[in-house]
Symmetry: C2
Subunit: 196 residues, 2 copies
């Protein structure tokens, strides 16, 4: 695994793509194997077959590198539907969010990154957009169409689902069966109070 | 701040109480000042005015020490009411949970602890009990009394509120005003779907 032959590269293909992928893969492997605190720039460089300066030219610190590596995918992978089926749309988002924060490398890295305060603004923005905005737009549409309460707080709903996903990704569930995305969506949408 | 005079101690009072408190205070201070990754057993010992062996006699590792320090209080502080007002009872628990995970030393330490897998069983148990069981008991009572759906999943509700509290404790909220415990309780209890 890992290792990039920098002398033999495909003509026309930018070298950085290959190196970036080798670094990303090394990062993911080392996170899963030993966790975030034990991982160093040095260990990533060695596993990826690159030099430390190669990494430092891209990122100023370990946390910047890991942010980039784990948040490369979700902008594509985590989405909310925009169909006429509100429950289905929300369920899709919940399911993708649980899957993302349940990935071994994300579960090992994300909570650790949260403790490295203060998060820089670019990292905060990456954390929030565009999924946060998509979810808010879908919920506001449902309010306009009379499906949801006027009082819905999209930011609260977003943080509740992401918080649950982060927490369940990190804390073993013991005897509880892992609830499906539909159960979680229904809890968020319907609440617990009996209908009158 | 910190520092324990181990030569002058109150007669009849066990020395360990004083030392424990000095270590706990040193831990909290260093977590707030520099975060979990930067904190070492050495720095805690120095700040507390004790030797490293004094700390290692109590805990086998930094994470064990920090777990003990940050979870000493919540068993008393985080509770759920057991009155006849379900919304008030839940609001009390939500409010205490948000306050606990919003404490600076907890926000800096808790997410980092989550990445130190596998959590040992005693730590998992400490994380879950007794509050998790109290919440489940209150919700089951409400189901019996016809206030809540039969389908309520107390573990899901617990993880959702704790997950939200952990996440909001760590991630700056940007422009969003911090929602009050009542808004969060209502989201959990009532959901978002318009009543028929």
């Amino acid at each position: 695994m890992g290792g990039v032959n920098t002398t033999r590269r495909t003509p026309g293909r930018p070298r950085s793509t290959e190196v970036d992928e080798a670094i990303a893969q090394a990062c993911r492997e080392l996170l899963v194997e030993g966790g975030y605190p034990a991982m160093t720039i040095e260990s990533v460089a060695e596993r990826a077959g690159v030099t430390r300066p190669t990494i430092y030219r891209r990122w100023p610190s370990k946390s910047h590198m890991v942010w980039d590596v784990i948040f490369t995918t979700p902008a594509d992978a985590v989405v909310i539907g925009d169909t006429d089926d509100l429950r289905g749309d929300v369920e899709l988002w919940v399911s993708a969010t649980m899957a993302f924060f349940g990935r071994p490398e994300v579960a090992r890295a994300f909570p650790a990154l949260l403790t490295e305060q203060p998060l820089e603004e670019t990292q905060q923005a990456r954390l929030r957009d565009p999924v946060r905005e998509q979810v808010a737009a879908r919920l506001r549409r449902a309010v306009r169409e009379g499906e949801l309460h006027q009082s819905v707080d999209p930011g609260l709903v977003f943080d509740m689902v992401v918080g649950l996903a982060v927490y369940r990704g990190s804390v073993p569930q013991g005897g509880d069966p892992k609830p499906a995305a539909r159960v979680i969506s229904d809890q968020v949408l319907l609440g617990m109070i009996l209908r009158p």
